[in-house]
């Protein structure tokens, strides 16, 4: 595993807030095509680690490497340029605009000359691009020109995740970080999101999933990493563990790493 270049690799990450040690010497990596679930109790450091991965927080010490290249001065902008996209819990969708505009914001296709000089958007083309991108992800829940405010919670979540994937399509690979992607969803909608996550991994994207939801974690992940009080206590293939074992790691009753 370590011989392949990981899509995203963190080595010896520590993060201190004053006297508080949120993360202590954590190693973490995710490979292309792999779904890694990052588990832990509240305050275990999951969100902090995710923010270090997205560049929102600078680690106090430790290294970040993307596709085998060490990155200095890491921040969200550089992360995005290097193909690391984050799906936030608040989704950050624009309710009043349609799915298509939400997905293509910043890359809107223009009408042909001379109308492009006025900045007129080619909506037909934009909807077409969106439909084909969503087809590629196997997402067929609502037409591209439906406003986001008319979508259900599951459809919104799928739209937000698709947006992250769509931004990575051009480079053909990348890492998608997700913070509790099913927190507000019911059973069927969770299944819908699980399907999408699996399909994105099958297309070669590396996916990190922070969650409290153990069924979700067992349904989609290839590997499970567990944090406890800022330290990594387990990092195992999903096939090599079970529910009770993971709960024991989360609560701190056991540790897989000496």
């Amino acid at each position: 595993m370590t011989t392949v270049n990981a899509a995203l690799r963190l080595t010896g990450i520590s993060k201190h807030y004053g006297y508080i040690r949120a993360l202590e010497d954590v190693d973490f990596h995710v490979n292309p095509g792999e779904v890694v679930a990052l588990l832990g109790d509240n305050g275990a450091g999951k969100s902090t680690l995710l923010k270090v991965m997205s560049g929102a927080h600078q680690a106090s010490s430790g290294d970040v490497a993307i596709n085998g290249q060490a990155v200095t001065r890491y921040n969200p902008h550089i992360a995005s340029e290097l193909g690391v996209e984050m799906v936030y819990q608040d989704l950050a969708l624009i309710d009043t605009l349609d799915i298509s505009t939400n997905l293509q914001l910043g890359k809107e296709p223009l009408l042909p000359f001379p109308l492009n000089l006025l900045g007129l958007v080619d909506f037909r083309k934009m909807h077409g691009i969106t439909e084909s991108q969503l087809d590629r992800l196997g997402v067929r829940t609502a037409p591209a020109d439906r406003p986001v405010e008319m979508l259900s919670g599951g459809q919104r979540q799928v739209t937000a995740i698709s947006r992250a994937a769509v931004r990575l399509f051009e480079r053909g690979a990348g890492t998608i970080l997700m913070d509790e992607p099913t927190a507000a969803l019911g059973y069927e909608q969770t299944r819908m999101v699980e399907g999408l996550i699996r399909r994105m991994a099958d297309q070669g994207f590396a996916i990190v999933l922070v969650t409290h939801n153990l069924p979700l974690c067992f349904n989609v992940s290839d590997r499970i990493a567990v944090l406890n009080r800022g330290r990594k206590v387990a990092d195992v293939a999903r096939a090599g563990t079970d529910h009770n074992q993971v709960v024991a790691w989360i609560t701190g009753a056991e540790s897989a790493i000496a």
Binding site: D95, G119, T141, A142, P147, S152, G153, E188
Partner: protein, 356 residues
């Protein structure tokens, strides 16, 4: 946005994801959406109909129609200014001050310096551009737009008084072509309003910068995460808004032949009424400009009809207020009805949040 809501795209593949959501909007949802988005037009047509009968034969005449158009023009320009600000996410209260300052600058340039009319007009709009830029830059420092623009309202109306030396400049007949003049029987101001609304509507709904500006008003975080500068679009909103206020100030000066340094807040509140009547959200990013125009026409129609009927003019004010609150209640209940229907249709779980 309303356009997109009504025509659901071609169904491909059906509900593959298995939550039973239909790709086509069900008919009853489409009707509710139509009522929410086009309700104000229905209301206006209804008012015209009722007033035509009530005030027969004085209301439904061409002359009276022109009076209504003329009266609606000033409200419409300021309503466009307020609405553009709200689309980009900010309520600009300095608009009356900017209008007064621009009018006074144009008045002084024309009367005391004898500057050619086109140059004076450009200078007047330039004042608006500058005011918008200053408002925008200050607000981007992280200050509340309401409070900042109350401050600049005070500054601009003070400057307006300084420019004209405290007294109104009267006898400005140079701008009659955009004041009381009529072309083909239609007030000149109606042409300006039509051009402004057409251009601005195309900008807001069809161009990438207009769409991004509304996106900033809807959710600036989404725009930032798309790698775009939300700040540019915020400033753009303030600039367009202030330039429209300048235009409004110059137009009202042209109408009364006088440049007055008194910023009148009443025009702002009338404009706000038209804007909220049209369902534009104070939270930003939501609403449609053509509906704002109808909102201005509704207000003008009511006050015109009640005047003809010999009702005390205070009743027009009362009716307007009641209508606006009614419009808010209507909009809210429609939005709730739509999301309730959509929840039923897609059979989503109960702890689901649909819409806001």
């Amino acid at each position: 946005m309303s356009q997109a809501t009504l025509k659901a795209g071609a169904p491909i593949g059906g509900a593959v994801e298995g939550n039973g959501a239909k790709r086509q909007l069900p008919l009853d949802v489409a009707i509710l959406v139509f009522l929410r988005d086009r309700g104000i037009i229905v209301l206006w047509v209804l008012l015209l109909f009722v007033f035509s009968i009530w005030n027969h034969p004085y209301f439904a005449t061409l002359n009276n129609a022109m009076l209504i158009v003329s009266a609606a023009s000033m409200t419409a320009i300021f309503a466009a200014a307020v609405a553009t600000g709200l689309f980009s996410g900010a309520l600009d209260l300095s608009l009356p001050g900017v209008a007064a300052l621009s009018a006074c600058v144009v008045g002084v340039l024309l009367k005391q310096f004898g500057i050619p009319i086109p140059l004076a007009l450009v200078a007047g709009l330039g004042v608006g551009l500058l005011c918008g830029l200053v408002n925008g830059i200050i607000v981007l420092k992280g200050l509340n737009p309401l409070i900042v623009t109350i401050g600049t309202l005070s500054v601009t109306s003070g400057l307006a008084a300084l420019v004209v030396g405290g007294y109104a400049i009267s006898g400005i007949f140079e701008l009659e072509f955009m004041g009381s003049a009529r072309y083909f029987g239609i007030p000149s101001q109606a042409y300006i309003v039509a051009a402004v609304y057409l251009a601005l509507t195309i900008f807001l709904t069809r161009t990438r910068h207009g769409i991004r500006m509304r996106a900033v008003g809807g959710n600036s975080e989404a725009v930032r995460r798309a790698g775009l500068s939300d700040q540019r679009y915020r400033i753009l909103g303030f600039i367009i808004s202030a330039m429209l206020a300048s235009l409004g100030g110059i137009m009202s000066m042209a109408l009364v032949y006088e440049a007055s340094p008194n910023a009148s807040p009443s025009i702002l509140f009338t404009a706000l009424t038209a804007v909220f009547l049209a369902g534009v959200s104070l939270a930003g990013g939501r609403g449609s400009l053509p509906r704002v125009l109808i909102g201005a026409l509704v207000l003008a129609t009511i006050s015109d009809a009640l005047t003809i009927a010999g009702v005390q003019p205070y009743w027009a004010t009362v009716t307007t207020g009641v209508l606006m609150i009614g419009a808010l209640v209507f909009d809210k209940s429609m939005t709730e009805a739509i999301s309730n229907r959509l929840v039923q249709v897609s059979r989503v779980s109960t702890h689901e949040r649909v819409g806001k």
